[in-house]
Amino acid sequence: MDASNTITTTTGRRSGRVRHGRRVADRALRIACTGATLVGALVLGSILVMLIVQGVRGFTPTLFTNPTPGPGSEGGGIANAILGSLVLTGIGILIATPIGVMAGTYLAEYGRGSKLAALIRFLNDILLSAPSILIGLFVYTLMVRPMGTYSGWAGGVALAIIAVPVIVRTTEDMLRLVPGTLREAGAALGAPPSTVITSVTWRAASAGIVTGIILALARIAGETAPLLFTALNNNSWFSANLMGGVANLPVMIYQFALSPYPNWQGLAWAGALLITATILVLSIIARLVIKPQTSR
């Protein structure tokens, strides 16, 4: 803004130079910003192309029917890891949904203005960005150590702890969007608070709450670090025994990608493509569900 003052008060020659400088700075900013965006899009494109090129080769029928092969052997699939991942994320989301929705409800409906609710809201935000490996260490100490074995249950609990803050946050945000007049109308009919919440507020915010659950699902589906110390893996046997280690896609990808066997690496690529595609589809669905909610 100093520059615009200079232009009006100085001679034409000087203002020309100033104007030139301003134009250069402006052009530089435009180019730099566009470049930054292109780099971002390029990286996403590169990752997707790499996954498709490397992963599609592994997409054979046996991928979904056979369990993971032993080290150095040929063939096999990742059926046990797919099943294990479904079971673990299922447990995680089943534990996290009621806790997350209820905690979000408390923060939005009962805890307005209370100090405790403000603290919990703050800690929930912290937990939302906490390193997931620390959650793995916590569940290891809480469950794996006392039980003496890596287990599917421990993996499910670890994933639930990661999912809860996501659900709490979206539930609270969505409930806050529900107009107060709706609640008043419910209360005026003589309904107790819990009835107003369950049959009026929740219903009005249902699309947003479901979005939160889908986002949490997308978040935990690819989590690897906490599963390393909890569910670990179960290589060659097709098993859904939750009291022992359970095979799952992220840990399988980690171990197979870093292995020296080409067959294992190929399976890791196929698994990586499968999991990334699933997560991107889930995220896009969540965005489409939430759209009418926020634009209203």
Partner: protein, 325 residues
């Protein structure tokens, strides 16, 4: 109720109590359950701190303050120190910010100021989808796609050029130019934090009243001047909050870093050399560790907890203050 006709009043109250009695206890139950669920969030955070403190305590007791300053990590002699991992964590996160912050702010400015309207949504969505890609995929991409290219086109030429030069030589000379190392980890982390910082910064820039922007354009400001004198001062605090949030993520990121950092326990001044971070070391060694090594890894977890939580708390305080203002 004395004013009401008796028959009606009796009938009404009876049916009302009949309906209300169970629902009132249900009401209390509902409230209690939601309260308990909220408290659980608090308990989990306390549990995380408690469990790693408990697990790491023997290591802290054994090595004392020296745990922080020792670069040793020897399973055979049971000597453990956190220095290499802590420095690796801090260095890779710092490099990630150095690279990631300008790029994310550039994207945020592009999306709010320069991007044509029809492209705004798809571009924003593309950038945000980057945040949804699991970190293990970034690790694979980093190791199999990025690292070979980086070794061939950056590490080897730069390393050859820098060899023997005084300060630059120690900073940029790669003993084994394999493409993995602290700088590679920093670059991969930068790619991972860009979508977060960019989307928060974009939201903050969007919240700035259009009137301010338009009046600046009205007196003849260029886009650069609008960004420099209007947008940046307005959104500075929250953008710093967003950057801190990205820093928190970079510090705790595990899988992507484990793939590309090289996992060496060596103190080196060169950012091309392999090293390790706290998270990568825990991920690598935890399953094979027992005894004092396990305690030392837990103690590393404690340090990570303290570092990231301080950063995250500052980040949340900064972003929250702006949201409420």
């Amino acid at each position: 109720m004395p004013a009401l006709t008796e028959s009606i009043a009796l009938g009404r109250t009876r049916s009302a109590t009949a309906r209300k009695a169970p629902s009132r206890s249900l009401d209390t139950l509902f409230r209690t359950f939601s309260y308990a669920a909220a408290l659980l969030v608090l308990l989990v955070l306390a549990g995380i701190l408690g469990s790693i403190l408990y697990g790491g305590w023997p290591a802290f007791r054994e090595f004392g303050f020296g745990f922080l300053t020792s670069a040793a990590w020897n399973v055979g002699t049971e000597q453990y120190g956190a220095l290499v991992a802590v420095l690796g964590t801090v260095a890779s996160a710092f490099l990630a910010l150095l690279i990631g912050v300008p790029v994310s702010l550039g994207i945020a400015v592009y999306l709010t100021q320069l991007c044509p309207g029809w492209a705004r949504k798809p571009v924003a969505m593309t950038i945000e989808l980057l945040a949804a890609v699991p970190s293990i995929i970034y690790g694979m991409w980093g190791l199999f796609v990025f690292a070979p290219l980086f070794a061939r086109f950056v590490q080897i030429p730069v390393s050859n050029l820098a060899e023997g030069m005084p300060i630059v030589g120690t900073l940029f000379y790669a003993r084994v130019p394999s493409g993995v190392g602290v700088l590679t980890a920093g670059i991969i982390l930068a790619i991972m934090i860009v979508p977060f910082i960019a989307s928060i910064a974009r939201d903050m820039l969007d919240q700035i009243p259009t009137v301010l922007r338009e009046s600046a354009y009205g007196i003849g400001c260029t886009t650069w001047e609008v960004v420099r004198h209007v947008l940046v001062p307005q959104a500075a605090v929250s953008i710093i909050g967003a950057i801190m949030l990205g820093l928190g993520r970079a510090l705790g990121e595990t899988m992507a870093v484990t793939f590309v950092v090289g996992n060496a326990n060596r103190l080196s001044a060169s950012i091309f050399d392999p090293s390790s971070t706290i998270a990568s070391r825990i991920a690598n060694e935890f399953n094979e560790a027992d005894g004092l090594q396990l305690n030392a890894l837990m103690a590393l977890g404690c340090i990570l907890f303290v570092i990231t939580f301080v950063v995250l708390i500052i980040a949340r305080l900064l972003t929250r203050r702006v949201q409420s203002a």
